[in-house]
């Protein structure tokens, strides 16, 4: 009887969005975890708010504004790091706050009020407009194609940047590509869990998967499964309990992370017991 809600278009859209988000965060999140770009991803997600504000101000679709703005910031960060030798962490701090500030400023400058602001900040998987779903689908497909084609090189450059340089791989271009892919992922996840919670979905499922993976491929597959469990499970739970979907998804993922830690602790005790 609970499945009857699948008859509603808004709910089917939500499930589609959840699955797309899962694929994206499983694949790109795995790179984020192994290359330790978690805080950078958080920074890009918050920078997206600048694009939302700019969108309202210019009268462009704020979701498109966020997409363009985040991509531009990702390329800017990559270039500044390369040219000025700044730490990624420093740049993260700058764009994190500067992006939010830009958003606040432009929203204040825009006459009237911004109706969907809350949705951008906290996400609402149940209220994703169909046009945005199409944008998400195109981005997700793009991510999938790019990662499939560049898989070997992306793994090589995230595993050992210096050796990739010794092998004459286009390291700078590959790192920029990775930042672009993270920006795309942030946009796909934005509608699902919101700017503030994107970082959790890019981090938690791959972090769980990593503990059970001996290769990048298996880590990505497990991450997608873990993320799908969280998003779809969280979607149903939030609908049934009538609570915000983004927060439910994230808390479900956090619970999964806790269970993983507990399982690892138990496994550690078992092997210790066997050894002793």
């Amino acid at each position: 009887m609970m499945l009857s809600i699948l008859g509603f278009e808004f709910f089917r859209n939500a499930v589609a969005a959840g699955l797309m988000a899962s694929i994206v965060c499983g694949i790109i999140g795995s790179f984020v975890i192994v290359k330790r770009l978690v805080s950078l991803s958080g920074g890009l997600a918050h920078a997206a708010f600048g694009g939302v504000g700019l969108g309202y101000f210019l009268g462009v679709d704020p979701f498109l504004g966020a997409a363009g703005f985040t991509l531009a910031i990702a390329l800017l960060i990559g270039t500044i790091r390369e040219k000025f030798g700044q730490y990624m962490e420093t740049l993260t701090g700058v764009v994190w706050a500067a992006g939010m500030a830009t958003g606040i400023l432009f929203i204040a400058l825009t006459p009237g009020y911004a109706p969907e602001l809350f949705g951008f900040l906290f996400g609402n998987i149940l209220l994703i407009p169909s046009e945005d779903l199409i944008i998400m689908g195109i981005l997700a497909l793009g991510i999938l194609l790019i990662v499939t084609a560049g898989f070997n090189q992306l793994v090589a450059v995230t595993f050992d940047e210096e050796y990739a340089r010794v092998m004459n791989l286009p390291v700078t271009a590959l790192l920029l590509l990775l930042l672009m892919l993270i920006a795309f992922s942030v946009i796909v996840l934005l509608r699902v869990v919101g700017i503030i919670l994107v970082i959790a979905l890019l981090t938690i499922p791959p972090a769980i998967a990593r503990e059970y993976s001996g290769s990048m491929r298996s880590m990505m597959c497990l991450s997608v499964l873990a993320a799908a469990g969280c998003t779809i499970g969280g979607l149903f739970l939030s609908y049934v309990m009538n609570v915000p979907s983004g927060a439910t998804i994230i808390l479900l993922a956090t619970l999964g992370y806790g269970l993983m830690l507990f399982e690892r602790w138990m496994a550690g005790r078992r092997t210790q017991g066997a050894a002793g």
């Binding site: 192994v34 070997n152 090189q153 210096e162 004459n168 001996g214 990048m216 298996s218």
Partner: protein, 255 residues
């Protein structure tokens, strides 16, 4: 006959205002097993990075296989000292070794072919870790990790192998096995290794130099007291005692 494999002419290198390499001349010839020894901070890693084209020389000329280091890289296998990567990266041993061939794989997508996999198996065999090929790299012991890194350097079938402190992470028996391996490799490729541990220099090296900012060498396999004193600024017996392979001629106590 071909020219030298590596040729440095009065190469200096400044890193954040400090002269790390000071007018270094170095000539490594085909078939050499060349060892550069020197204290920590003596510029050994910097020297290798200049040879690999990872760092620009502030002055002087660097030629590898008679050309710019960046162009020569595809013929070089490199065993770095500092773990610039994390062994917890989800990768199997075979995948890690295979990744060392990526520079040789043509095309935008760079898919590995059967030839690449064959080369990986061969490299794993040479380093005696073929049985570990399906294992995640995080399960390897220190010695096995070092073998995997060497296998990655060998997988591209290089003409020049460069090793930075290859014995740092391994225990004594593994160290001896690694030396046997280098000895076998010497017939196929030129080898350049740097180390701060004189004990690591076996009698198989063909040439030795001491590096401490400046370089000191007789262009032979002999380490003389004056080379060491010049490079280390300390009495030789402090570093010469208790070493497994004695490369010194008998010498009296210094000081």
């Amino acid at each position: 006959m071909n020219g030298p494999v590596i040729e440095l002419e009065s190469v200096s290198c400044l890193l954040s205002g400090r002269t790390v390499l000071d007018a270094v001349d170095l000539k490594v010839r085909e078939g050499d097993l060349y060892a550069v020894i020197g204290p920590n901070g003596g510029g050994k890693t910097t020297l290798l990075k200049v040879i690999l084209g990872l760092l620009p020389a502030s002055s002087g000329t660097v030629r590898v296989f008679g050309t710019d280091p960046r162009k020569a890289r595809s013929r070089i296998g490199y065993v770095p000292q500092y773990r610039t990567f994390d062994f917890r990266y989800p990768l199997t041993v075979e995948e890690m070794v295979l990744s060392g061939r990526l520079g040789l794989v043509p095309g935008l997508v760079r898919r590995f072919s059967e030839k690449d996999r064959k080369a990986a198996r061969k490299a794993l065999e040479r380093t005696a870790i073929l049985h570990l090929s399906r294992r995640p790299i995080c399960d390897l012991s220190g010695g096995e990790q070092q073998r995997a890194i060497i296998a990655r350097a060998l997988v591209g079938e290089p003409d020049l192998l460069i090793l930075d402190e290859p014995m740092v992470y391994v225990d004594m028996p593994t160290e001896l096995q690694l030396f046997d391996m280098l000895k076998a490799l010497k017939d196929e490729m030129t080898v350049l290794l740097v180390t701060h541990d004189i004990g690591a220099i076996s009698t198989n090296v063909t040439r030795v130099a001491c590096l401490n900012g400046k370089i000191f060498t007789h262009d032979t396999s002999e380490i003389s007291e004056e080379m060491l004193t010049a490079a280390y600024h300390c009495p030789v017996d402090l570093i010469a005692h208790g070493i497994p392979h004695r490369v010194f001629r008998d010498h009296g106590r210094v000081g």
